[in-house]
Symmetry: C2
Subunit: 372 residues, 2 copies
């Protein structure tokens, strides 16, 4: 294989496919990027067997062929080269020469035949959404997937297509996040569970523009995201996702409307008193005036603050993990948030009028008499 | 103690004195900041017994007094408060209330009497230099102090005042850095060794302006830096510093003048091939043309590159730890560097014509026949 290509194109392509390179593996080939030169193009592929990414750049192909290069060293070398033309040539089965201006590198390589190709996905069933919408959906749900691999299903996000809407749900046993957007055209119903890691990596490489689209193809065991020159293939998590309908339709005895920034400010100011080891709840109370009272007592000290709110309904005293409140607030783009509560034992629900987003947070059990 | 002060003033003062707060200690008082309110001022002090810092801010003092507060929690709380007026009040021997707008914090405190005051320094012997000069000197020498506490003397920097010049030297057994600047006025001769950590922290809190001055007072066991509202007191490292005169006056058989940016570029491009565990030297050769040849061969691969230079003298092949070359290049502000070498066994010297800076780097032993 002998190719000439532009440094900036190669760097961007490496950055994209690197998201699917294994870092912890005993199989060295999974730490590689495959370069395949064919008909004026170079295809770059990485595949950790859960997630595979392929992208393509223009190049001058002097000799077609393919080669697998250890991703870290290859990417480090290319990134530091001058912004100029790069020559890459396999000089034997185990050596590649890289030249750029006066620099010449020789690094080891592996045969491209060792590399596992991406699974081929039938393109029958698909939806199309903007890169911006996809990125927002991921940002607004990804924080509540579990990172505990022993409950595999919780490490994924539920994607459901129904009545030409895309519904995305994540949950970790303490909270649930749900986003819903309308899809254009007619769409077949689908239910799949997508690994959280796939979505995390995907959201780093989609550009987030409202005009640029992503096609998502669903097959039995895989999902394919196609956009611009890039294809992202992910395994699905197999099995039945959790039923959350009961939680979603729960009633409330108190509705609060609060300025989001102000509420976040209070939780943020309380954070210096929070220690990982002592899981003290932040106490939220609504009394018979138009204030929301927040307090926190930990081994490090105590804090109290209140803010004006609009409200309708009963008084309440309820305790939360402050991080869970903060995580939800942080991804809501509205200026005001609507918080619905029942009592100190039942979860609170944060949602907008159209339920385009719904965040459900379980409370922490507290002795409400102490805080009355 | 009851005070009112501005949040931004208090935050800046905390940031300054925090540099002298102990983080690893079994004595809780060393993790504290002392606040002392007296005559319309609040003095903040931290002292880890090696390094002590005191600074002062304007405040409304409603009741004089002093109190010691755990630095981390105090600083975290203050930093997150709104940019407004802060009320601070000791409510008992063990509690402080902090109020700002609608926030109210209560945190534990310690008696100010537990706190070790800064040692008092006789102000007899001093020099005055600009904050910019002091910051430059530290930046241009600090990288070659040793962090190995078992050779205590190498963890410090030698400050010598002689013939109205300030000479600063650091060395770690593999390299030596020396900076020299002229002092204004008449100055007494001095020789002291200042802990590297003191200089590191100091350079974070001096503003680096050419117009703002620092007074440095020397006593037998301590050094005092005074600037604006801040006093930094450091213990000295006691004992005789290393004699380096022989190294400094060594001859050379080859003088090279190279573009610094270009040379740094080459070393930087070689860096992906360097592994911590395999200490392969970067090989620098000068032959009978006007090029400097650089090559590196490691387990990860090999690289070669050359650059045009001006030179005078013999041919050479010499190996270096690339990090040491890079560290020196990075702090030199000139466009071109002059490198003087003798042979593959003797150190290279990088210096300007006036010897305002001199960097000496020991080579790594190589078999020169292999690279000839």
């Amino acid at each position: 294989m002998i190719i000439k290509c532009k440094k900036n194109l190669l760097t961007s392509a490496i950055n994209i496919v690197s998201k699917a390179v294994s870092t912890k593996t005993t199989m060295p080939i999974l730490e590689c990027i495959l370069l395949k030169a064919e008909g004026g193009k170079v295809y770059l592929t990485a595949n950790n067997l859960e997630l595979g990414i392929e992208t393509v750049i223009d190049a001058t192909v002097l000799e077609e062929g393919q080669v697998a290069l250890e991703a870290k060293i290859f990417s480090d070398i290319i990134r530091k080269l001058p912004d100029s033309e790069i020559d890459l040539e396999t000089t034997s089965d185990i050596r590649v020469d890289i030249r750029c201006e006066k620099s010449k590198f020789t690094i080891p390589c592996r045969s491209g035949d060792e590399f596992s190709p991406l699974p081929s996905i039938e393109k029958e069933n698909s939806i199309r959404i903007s890169q911006m919408a996809l990125r927002d959906i991921i940002r607004q749900t990804i924080f509540s997937v579990s990172d505990n691999e022993s409950t595999k299903m919780m490490t994924g996000e539920y994607f459901e297509v129904k009545d030409n809407q895309l519904i995305v749900i994540s949950l970790d046993g303490h909270r649930i996040s749900r986003r819903k957007i309308n899809l254009a055209g007619e769409n077949k119903d689908v239910k799949v569970v997508v690994p959280g890691k796939t979505l995390q990596e995907l959201s780093k490489i989609i550009n987030g523009d409202a005009e640029d689209m992503v096609d998502i193809f669903f097959s039995d065991r895989h999902l394919l995201f196609e956009f611009e020159d890039t294809r992202v293939v992910s395994r699905l998590i197999e099995g039945e996702y959790f039923k959350i309908t009961n939680m979603m339709t729960m009633g409330h005895s108190l509705a609060v409307k609060a300025n989001k920034k102000e509420f976040m400010g209070i939780i943020d100011r309380a954070s210096p008193l929070i220690q990982e080891t002592d899981k003290k709840p932040i106490i939220v109370s609504v009394k018979n005036d138009n204030n929301l009272y927040v307090r926190l007592d930990t081994n490090l000290g105590s804090m109290k603050e209140e803010m004006e709110i609009e409200k309708e309904g009963d008084e309440i005293i309820i305790g939360f993990n402050p991080k869970f409140l903060m995580d939800a607030m942080r991804v809501i783009d509205d200026d005001d948030v609507n918080i619905y509560m029942m009592d100190s034992k039942n979860p609170c629900i944060i949602k907008d009028a159209e339920e385009s987003y719904v965040y459900i947070i379980l409370p922490i059990n507290i002795n409400t008499d102490v805080y009355a």
